[in-house]
Each structure stands twice: as C-alpha cells, then as structure tokens.
C-alpha cells in the first residue's frame, strides 16, 4: 500500500514536472525578436520542424548523431577519458539496471521468457550493473572532490545527484547482502517452496544453506556432519536449485553478506532488510519525482539538444524553433563543467571573482533571467560582465558534450541584457570586435548605445572641456591617483613628460581629425601633463582614452622614454575601477 502510494505520488510529480519544464521551452524566449510569437505557434512550428526533418535526408544525420554522440558519447571521450568512463559506467549501468531490475515485471520477462530474479545469470548481471554504477560514482567523487580540476565547480545540484544515486546503490547492495544472511528470509522461502519435507530434511537443508550459502541461523551452527550436508544437498536439489542459483553468483552482494555476517542475526531481528528496502525504493521514487527539476533531467534533454543542434542552422531554421531550442538547451546543460575547464578566459576568474565568467555558471543565471526573476541592478551587471568577458572563440560550443550552441546563447542574452540600460565596461575593450562583426552595425538601432552608456558611466558627458569659460581649480583634484600611477609597473614613467607633443603628432587618431580636441578631449601629451599635475577630471573626461588604439606609436617616438601607451592602459583601468565603485555605491 505504502509502496503503491509513494510510487504513484512520485510518478505524478515526475509527469507534472515534465509538463511544466517542457512548457517552459515554448513559453519563454531569449532573443528579443521572437518575444511576440505565442507559445501555441511555437509548438506548431516545432512539430512542423520535426516532421520535416524526419522525412528528409537529415534523418541520417540524426541517426549518426544518435549512435556517436548519444549512445557512444564520442564528444565526452574526445575531451576526457576519465569523464567518459565515469559517464558510461553510470549511464549503461543505470539503464540496464532499470530495464532488468527496476522494471523487471514489465520488460525483462518479455525479452527472457525463463526470467527469474534469483536465477543466474540475472543475479550476476544485476550485481555487475550495480558495480558499474558504483565505479562511476567513485570516479565522479574522485573527479569532483579529490582531483581538483581547475575551475570545475561543484554545485549543490551535483552533490544531490551523486548522493541520490549513491543511496540507491548502497541500499540496494546492503539489502541484497542482508537478505543472503537473513534467517527469516530463509524460513519464508522454505515455507513457500519446499514440498513434502520432513523435520529432518528441513534441518539438513538449513544446515546445508548455513554451510554453503552464508545463511546465519540462530538454531544450527557448523561444523556439520557430512551426512547431514549430504541430506541437505538432496533437499536443496529437490526444492531450491531449480529457481535459485548459488548466492555467490551475486558477487558484490555476497561480499557484502560476508562482511556483515557477524551482525547478521541482530540485523535479522531488527528487520533491517525491510528498512533497507524502504530506503531503496523511496530513494528511487525521490529520484524519479525530483528528476525533472534536477541535473538528471539531462537524460532526456541532452540527447534532444544533440539531435536538434545536428539538424538546425541559424538563418535556415525557423527563428521560433531556434528560440525553443535555446530554452531546451538551458535544461540540457548537466553542469559537467567541460566548458569552464576549457574556457579560454576561464583563468581570469582567478583575478576577477565573478562566477559568471565561467560558461557553466552562466547557465543558472540565464535561467533566472529567462524565467523573469526580479534581479537587482547589481545582479544584472554581474551577469552582464560574465557574459561579456568572452573572446567568442566558440571553444565552449565545440567541447559541450550536450551539443549546446553556447556561443549563440551568450550573444543573444548579452544583447538582450544590454537593452536594460546597465553600463557594461567590457564593451570598451577589443572583446567588442566580435560584436561589431556579428552585430551588423548599421541595421541595429541600439547598436551604439552600450558604448555611449559605458563612456557616460566613466565620466558624465564631458563636463569640464565643453565649458570653455570654466575656471579650473589650481589645486589639483588629486585623490591619491598620482600615487597609484607612480606605483604602477606600467605607468610610473608619466612624470618624465616635458610636453614636447611628439606623442600627439605620432598618434594616428589625433592625425585623423582636423580639430582633434573637439572630438577626443585632451591629446596624448596633454593627458601626460594633466596626469603629472593631477588634473584627473580632465584626464578621465577625455574620449581620447577610449579612442586609443594601443598601437604604441606615441611610446615608440617619445624622446623621454615615457611609456605613453602603457600609461593609457593604466588610466583606463583606473577610470573603470572608479566608475564601478561609483555605480555600486
């Protein structure tokens, strides 16, 4: 009764969870352009897309991907053998155990007509599959907690997944182990299966099982006479052997039985096997109910993502379907961390402690964003920074074992986030080259906004320079900045400048304009001079800082050995740090 109720409760939660999760794929969207397509139209588009693929030669692509990436998981193998071994052990161990043990009333007899759970090869196979999973779990724990791969982050979700699996497996083996030694289990089976046996036969059968198969009996104890064992053997042949193989065949369980043997009679009296059975099936049901909400959901979503990505292409596929696929992809991420370990800028996380820099950690943030969670301006800025700190090298997308088009995801979310109007300073770096290439600048009305916003945030609209009649204070507005420059390894030569203008003459940006001061503010030599006398307002309000190419013409030509370009870099760093502090206040 309890078993049935908990099974159906778990099943109901599982199904409802599944419906909820799948409905999200059609309800939400990441790209701005598909915001107005209703969910029903997206479902329709998806069905149409699937049918179209199934009746085209793309079907072969699907088959290929299914065999290589879903069944053999070549993508995982290519990256990391240990991870592949771990995953194969758990994946196939669990699948086979589910089919041949969890569902043994439904499936196994249909394939093996003479199936009997206690009859070989089934106990051996069951133990073997279980052992595979245990090995997998051990590798998983080793990788996550002992090996300490740089930037492989373990979230509570990863721990739950490993823990639930471990509880299922350990309780299973303990259950089987205690059943082997259990005297009451032995009595039950004798009751059920022995036919026409007298007292003596039963006693010798008991002796035989105690001697040969590890049953711990409170009544009899070895050593036994050969005669009794002989008689027991006959009774065994008669009643048991037909549908019960030697328990030793269940290798692991028998080992567990051997280890727990000294405690066996205590366990048996306390009915430990019943407790273990409850733990075992409850853990299974918990796993089932929690599955759509846990990382284990990837057993469904990852194959779907791999297959969908194999046949979809940006520009060719229906944008509605791409939007749906991106939501599916968010669920297909199983937080394996391959992307973060391989990320080309992952190491920057050691210096700028924002987890959103790591691709695998961007996914939960994007999930929160997409679900419309209320986020503070600060939270948005953090996610935005993480998304922008990316060289767009596509490595994450290439290595992702779930085939998720991560790069496209980042780009879409980035652009959508920028429209929320929080300044992002990384747009002022060459990381923007990609945005300029992909953004197709003239067609997008909002394209230049993030740059303006960032420059505004660094220094509000060119205040000092625009007002020509403004009197500048003779007392330098120094906030300890000269100190920072003097101590900086790259900028400490700024005070050597004697304002000869060579740097400004060499600067291709200055030379590009007829009246450069109107457009860029202070020219390079003026910035050096202003830094020397501490006129920071003038320095930081100069567009020149952000129009600097870093081409080193100024520095190369300086007769005084002032490292002009290096100083510009330092000034940019300081300006952004100051702006960040100002916003966070």
């Amino acid at each position: 009764m309890f078993y049935t109720v908990s099974l159906y409760t778990a099943l109901a939660i599982f199904v409802l969870g599944l419906i909820y999760k799948v409905s999200n794929w059609f309800r939400y969207s990441i790209s701005v352009e598909v915001k107005d397509i209703p969910a029903s139209a997206r479902v329709f588009a998806a069905v149409k897309g699937v049918i179209r693929v199934l009746f085209s030669n793309k079907l072969f692509t699907l088959l290929k991907v299914f065999v290589l990436d879903v069944c053999l998981q070549v993508k995982v193998l290519r990256e990391d053998f240990l991870k592949w071994a771990m995953h194969m052990c758990i994946y196939y161990g669990f699948l086979l155990l589910l089919l041949m043990h969890g569902l043994d009333e439904l499936i196994t007899p249909a394939i093996f007509p003479n199936y009997y759970p206690t009859l070989n090869p089934f106990p051996t196979l069951r133990d073997l599959f279980g052992l595979l999973i245990i090995i997998g779990i051990a590798i998983a724990i080793y990788r996550r907690f002992i090996l300490k791969v740089a930037r492989l982050r373990t979230s509570p979700m990863d721990i739950y997944a490993i823990a639930i699996l471990a509880i299922i497996m350990i309780s299973g083996f303990l259950l089987k182990g205690t059943k082997i030694t259990s005297y009451s289990k032995f009595e039950e089976m004798v009751e059920e299966y022995t036919i026409q046996a007298d007292e003596e036969e039963l006693r010798s059968l008991e002796a035989y099982w105690v001697e040969k198969f590890g049953v711990v009996s409170p009544k009899v104890e070895g050593p036994f006479d050969a005669e009794i064992l002989e008689l027991g053997s006959e009774a065994h042949e008669m009643s048991c052997v037909e549908c019960h193989s030697r328990p030793q065949w269940a290798l692991v369980s028998y080992a567990v039985a051997a280890i727990t043997k000294p405690m066996a009679s205590v366990f048996d009296r306390a009915n430990v096997s019943s407790i273990l059975w409850h733990i075992h099936f409850l853990a299974c049901f918990l796993g089932l109910a929690y599955l759509p909400f846990s990382k284990m959901f990837h057993v469904f979503t990852t194959p779907l993502s791999l297959l969908a990505n194999a046949v979809m292409e940006k520009g060719k596929s229906d944008p509605a379907n791409i939007a749906t696929r991106q939501l599916l992809e968010l669920d297909a991420c199983m937080h394996c961390g391959t992307c973060s370990v391989q990320c080309r800028v992952g190491v920057v996380f050691e210096e700028i402690r924002n987890v959103n820099i790591l691709p695998s950690e961007k996914i939960p943030s994007i999930k929160a964003l997409v679900a419309g969670k209320e986020l503070s301006a600060q939270e948005i800025r953090i996610i935005q920074e993480g998304l922008f700190l990316c060289t767009n090298c596509y490595r994450c997308t290439v290595v992702c074992p779930a085939g998720i088009n991560l790069q496209e995801l980042w780009f879409n979310v980035r652009e959508a986030l920028l429209e929320r109007g929080q300044p992002e300073f990384l747009v002022l770096s060459p990381l923007s080259v990609y945005r300029g290439l992909v953004g197709e600048s003239p067609s997008q009305p909002h394209y230049p906004d993030p740059i303006k916003l960032a420059i505004e945030a660094v220094y509000p609209a060119g205040i000092p320079l625009k007002k020509l009649d403004r009197t500048l204070s003779v007392v330098p507005s120094d906030n300890g900045l000269s100190g920072i420059l003097k101590k900086s390894i790259q900028a400490n030569t700024f005070s050597h400048c004697f304002s000869c203008i060579t740097c400004s003459n060499a600067c291709p940006v200055v030379r590009n304009y007829r009246r450069p001061s109107e457009l860029v503010g202070l020219l390079p030599h003026q910035i050096m001079h202003a830094s020397g006398i501490g006129l920071w307002d003038l320095v930081f309000s100069s567009r020149m800082l952000w129009d600097c190419l870093g081409c080193y013409q100024c520095q190369e030509h300086c007769p005084q050995g002032v490292r002009v370009a290096d100083i510009f870099y330092e000034l940019k760093n300081i300006a952004i740090t100051r702006a960040r502090e100002k916003i966070s206040e």
């Binding site: 740089a150 391989q342 990320c343 080309r344 800028v345 992952g346 190491v347 920057v348 050691e350 210096e351 700028i352 700190l389 060289t391 767009n392 090298c393 596509y394 490595r395 290439v398 300073f425 990384l426 747009v427 002022l428 770096s429 060459p430 990381l431 923007s432 080259v433 990609y434 945005r435 300029g436 290439l437 953004g439 600048s441 003239p442 230049p448 740059i451 900086s488 390894i489 790259q490 291709p508 940006v509 590009n512 952000w546 129009d547 190419l549 870093g550 081409c551 080193y552 013409q553 520095q555 190369e556 490292r563 370009a565 870099y569 330092e570 940019k572 760093n573 952004i576």
Partner: protein
C-alpha cells in the same frame, strides 16, 4: 624545429583559413607544431579592463609551453605583443612573478621565464631562413604588387618585441619578395589597421582602415599582405562592411602571408582557404599562371 602552436581566439571560427594555411606552409618547411589543448586567451583584449587579468591570462600560456619545454609560435601580432610584454614583465618584476605563479600553481603551473614567444614571421625569417624558403619555392608571382602591412605589435614597442627596425622595417618585405612579388613602398605602412577600435568607435576605426587602403592603392598595390589575425579581420571582414558603407572604390583585397607563400610552395588554394576570404583574393592565382606560362 618544433613549437607549441598558440591559436588566436579569433582563428578557429572567423579566420580558419589562417590556421589551415599556416599548418600547410609550416609542414612544407619542416616546422613541427604541437597543439596544447589548455592554451587560452593571450590577455590582449583584457588589458583595457584589468592589467592583472591580462598578465595572468598571458603568463598561463607561457607556463603551459614551459611545461612542454617548447617555444611558442603565434600568428597574431596582438598575441605576440602581449606575450612578449608579459614575458618581459615576469622576467623583470619579481613581485608580479610571485603573485602570478601563486595563482597558476592552483592548476599545477609555474612560469620561470624560459620560453620565447615567436611570431610566425620571426620563425620564417630567423629560424627557417630566407634561403631555405627560396629553395622550397616551386612557382613565383609575376608583376604582383603587394602592400606589406606589418601591424603594430610586431614592431612596437621595439624595446620589447625587437623583431625589426620599428620605423623602417624590412624583414616582412623580404619574406614577401621571396614569392616573386614586389613589396612596394607606401605612405602609412607601419600604421595601425584600425581593428582595436572596431566595435568601440566604428567610424574612427573605418577612417583609419580607409586611410590605409587609400594609401596602398595610391602606391599601386594589387593586394595587401598581412600576418595578424586582427589585421586580417579588419582588412577583410570589416573592409566588406566599409565597402558597403563608404563605396567600392576603396576595395583592396588582403591576403594572409601563409596564403601568399603557400601558393608559391605549391599548396592548393583549397588547403589555403583562399575562397574563405570575404573580399575575394581568388584572382591572385592569375599572377602565378602568367609566370608558369612564360616559363613554358
């Protein structure tokens, strides 16, 4: 002769032809390349935001090469300049070295400063040598005028890179002329291509690119020749945008040096990825054909 191949972040997707042509050319010339999967960003794009992050990212690559005990080869000026800068910094500044190594040790890495970061031009000119290249050439260009574009970070700051004379460089020109092409003199030769501002100040970036294209054309160039990922993106993909915005009269296709040399080494145009360029360079093969015809 073996190097760790440092692939620039831009090459795997938007500039695959640079990888293909480099691999093919270096193989012909007997230069072995080792791929180290863990290599990351050189740090260049991070310098505007955080000096320390840029040093760390760069030093990590050097440390990975030191682990392999091989020098590093890069095809990008920006990677090159950054790696050289950080290499010098790690050498000269004990406290930076200590700080960076403490962080790197988390993943079992350390940089002691024994690795040379080399640009592909440096390897070709100094390690392989003009003579060796000459001997391997099977066909040459005829009447082809090339505007050789050095790019900033292979020349400047000269105190750090030390590849060539910063104001009157010749090494890249010599490498271009090995192919039979003429490397012409042109006005803004050592200037920046404009790429660092693409995406930040597009108009200014296009101004600088346009100026370079104009000067090269005025000097009679048929093609630009480039040996940096960012410069090539600027002169090819951004040029395409420039042509649509500022008119087709500025058109001057840009070829990557390994593509140019590869053709003379007898490598086919598909391997060199000639048709992947967005401003087409396919016509450059006509200059080769003329030569072959005149020989026959």
């Amino acid at each position: 002769m073996r190097f760790v191949m440092m692939r620039c972040c831009t090459t795997p997707i938007v500039l695959q032809q640079y990888e293909w042509s480099t691999n093919a050319v270096l193989e012909k010339l007997g230069v072995g390349l080792v791929d180290v999967k863990e290599l990351g960003c050189c740090g260049y794009p991070l310098r505007n935001i955080s000096f320390k992050a840029h040093v760390l990212a760069s030093a990590r690559n050097l440390a990975l090469c030191e682990k392999e005990n091989l020098d590093l080869l890069t095809v990008c000026n920006c990677c090159y300049g950054t790696l050289k800068y950080v290499d010098r910094l790690m050498h000269d500044d004990g406290s930076t070295r200590k700080e960076v190594n403490t962080t790197l040790e988390k993943e079992g890495l350390r940089y002691e400063g024994d690795i040379k970061a080399k640009h592909i031009l440096e390897v070709l000119y100094n390690d392989v040598g003009i003579e060796t290249i000459k001997n391997k050439i099977v066909r040459t260009f005829n009447r082809l005028k090339i505007a050789t574009h050095y790019g900033c970070r292979i020349l400047r700051p000269s105190s750090i890179v030390q590849f060539d004379k910063p104001n009157s460089p010749t090494k890249f020109d010599e490498l271009v002329e090995v192919t039979g092409a003429e490397s012409i003199d042109w006005l803004s030769k050592p200037e920046c291509c404009g790429s660092p501002l693409w995406g930040i100040n597009d108009e200014l970036s296009l101004d600088l690119t346009e100026n370079k294209l104009k000067n090269a054309k005025q000097a009679g160039a048929d093609y630009l020749c480039v040996s940096c990922s960012y410069c090539q993106i600027q002169f090819d993909q951004v040029q395409r945008i420039l042509l649509s915005q500022r008119g087709p009269q500025h058109r001057l296709p840009s070829i990557l040096y390994p593509q140019l040399l590869g053709l003379c080494l007898g490598i086919d145009s598909e391997t060199l990825g000639l048709n992947r360029n967005q401003v087409s360079i396919n016509d450059i093969e006509f200059y080769l054909l003329q030569k072959a015809a005149s020989q026959n």
